[in-house]
């Protein structure tokens, strides 16, 4: 029997006495492609940080491939929202990706690490930019570099925090194309507040707003979304995503 990529049992988390996550129970199977959707402030990023071991839940149990989150870091790749760091930083594309190969103090990057980093850049079609300073890239290119950095870890689970937020609509399609190539290699989890474009690309959706309202196939997510957004699903789901779907 293969291990689940992620298991959460009765996970709760509060920050400054405010409940952010409440009794979250869910399981993500290996090679699933799951979107966690919910409004801003609904606890999506907190959930990711718990999976990454950056935050510890107040109660409940989290297992990543059967291990404690902190002990599973070598299996997990992470794509943060790219806006949170200084683009004017003295670092080039290759060095950024190489950071994904970090394996401890006093350990030099080996030639194998360099090869894997280069392969990750090839995977995202950014190889020719490898010597470029990161501030000289477009938003979409930076995101590709950050995906390469996550892939350089050779993860079995890739977590993506609002990958749509920082790129324009044109880039979103190429992002999904890229991600779809990764589907058979690893489990993919993305969080998004934008119901629109996500739902027709992923296999499963989880609706999160402090509590987990729905988790299941993407096509049947309507009621869960209605509950978390407190408005008719006609407005938020049927209009936009289905039109996008037809365009394909």
């Amino acid at each position: 029997m293969s291990l689940n990529a992620l298991e959460m049992k009765d996970v709760s988390f509060s920050y400054n006495h405010q409940q952010v996550l409440e009794d979250i129970n869910f399981t993500i199977e290996e090679k699933d492609f799951v979107a966690i959707i919910g409004p801003n402030g609904g606890g999506k990023s907190t959930l990711l940080k718990i999976v990454l071991g950056l935050l510890t839940p107040d109660k409940g149990e989290v297992k990543v491939f059967g291990r404690e989150p902190k002990k599973a870091l070598d299996l997990v790749g992470y794509l943060p929202q790219h806006t949170h760091f200084d683009l004017d930083f003295p670092i080039d594309v290759f060095e950024t990706v190489l950071m994904g190969r970090y394996h401890g103090m006093f350990k030099n990057y080996t030639s194998e690490d360099r090869e894997i980093a280069l392969q990750a850049l090839k995977d995202v079609d950014m190889e020719r930019y490898k010597d470029r300073q990161i501030s000289r890239l477009s938003g979409g290119q930076i995101q590709r570099v950050l995906i390469a950095r996550a892939l350089a870890r050779e993860p079995k689970l890739l977590l993506m925090d609002e990958p749509m937020a920082s790129i324009d609509p044109e880039m979103q399609n190429s992002f999904y194309r890229l991600i779809s190539h990764l589907k058979d290699r690893m489990t993919l989890v993305l969080v998004s507040h934008d119901v629109g474009t996500v739902s027709m690309h992923v296999d499963k959706i989880a609706c999160l707003n402090q509590k987990l309202y729905y988790h299941g196939p993407a096509e049947e997510a309507g009621e869960g979304l209605e509950e978390i957004y407190h408005c008719s699903i006609e407005h938020i789901s049927h209009g936009i995503p289905h039109r996008v779907l037809r365009k394909h």
């Binding site: 950056l54 997990v76 943060p80 760091f85 003295p90 060095e95 950071m99 970090y102 103090m105």
Partner: protein, 264 residues
């Protein structure tokens, strides 16, 4: 015109200028790219507590400043990790509490503190051989640590969250960087003084950052630029009989100003 180079004190001053530049190039680069200039300012002012303690105990104030400023720097790091206090507030508090401690230590030592001013505003012309040896040893420690932990320092400076996610011990590395800043502060004290030294630490890297995106080149060019500008300040201070620390800082400030124009 260059007869001043014959004086022993001038030769020592030029060596000191080179030694401070090494600390500025290696540590100043991180201070600038990690945007911790004001925190470094707080550490430098806190070092005055160590200088005062040196007076009180009758040991070389620069030597006493080493453990004192390291403790101050680490407590700063610990406060950030554990206590719910904003970084900004912690900086302001460390800044003045360290200085206040220094003043009280000097008070407790009865009698006049003759060269206290040189620790506050620097006095590169009175740098002794002992001072130079201390600076040299600290520089070597700084270079070794920077070399050994270059990947980690780069990681926490660029993207601390991702560093944690790949298992980099970011708390430890941040502490180590703060300790290195404390050591750099001690290297710089005699040259420009506690009150002025943050500009010397930050300006060479701030100038060079406009021209290179390679961190190694940034460190080396900052060291060279730092040495040139500090020496220039020293010469100007000597010729015009001005306060050396202040002259060096103004030369650095002017160079930064000019470099922005060239870049435009």
């Amino acid at each position: 015109m260059f007869e001043f180079i014959q004086y022993d004190f001038m030769q020592r001053a030029f060596i000191a200028a080179i030694l401070v530049s090494v600390a500025c190039g290696a540590v100043g680069t991180y201070v600038v790219i990690k945007k911790i200039v004001s925190m470094s300012g707080a550490i430098s002012h806190a070092a005055f507590g160590g200088v005062g303690l040196g007076y009180l105990l009758g040991v070389n104030p620069v030597v006493a400043a080493i453990p004192f400023s390291i403790v101050a720097a680490l407590s700063m790091g610990a406060v950030q990790e554990k206590v719910k206090i904003s970084e900004d507030t912690a900086i302001g508090i460390l800044w003045s509490v360290g200085m206040a401690l220094g003043i009280i230590f000097v008070n407790l030592k009865s009698g006049y503190a003759p060269d206290l001013f040189s620790y506050l505003f620097g006095s590169i012309l009175t740098v002794s051989n002992t001072d130079l040896y201390i600076m040299l040893v600290l520089d070597l420690i700084i270079l070794i640590v920077v070399f050994l932990f270059r990947r980690e320092f780069l990681g926490v400076s660029f993207d601390e969250e991702f560093s944690k996610v790949v298992g980099l011990p970011s708390t430890l590395i941040n502490m180590l960087l703060l300790a290195l800043i404390a050591l750099s502060v001690v290297v710089l004290i005699k040259v420009v003084g506690i009150i002025l030294l943050i500009a010397l630490l930050a300006i060479p890297a701030a100038i060079c950052k406009q021209y290179t995106y390679d961190i190694r080149k940034l460190m080396i060019s900052s060291t060279i630029i730092g040495a040139i500008l500090t020496s220039l300040g020293l010469i100007l201070a000597f010729i015009f009989n001005l306060s050396s620390g202040a002259t060096i800082i103004l030369v650095l400030g002017a160079a930064l100003f000019i470099s922005y124009f060239i870049q435009e």
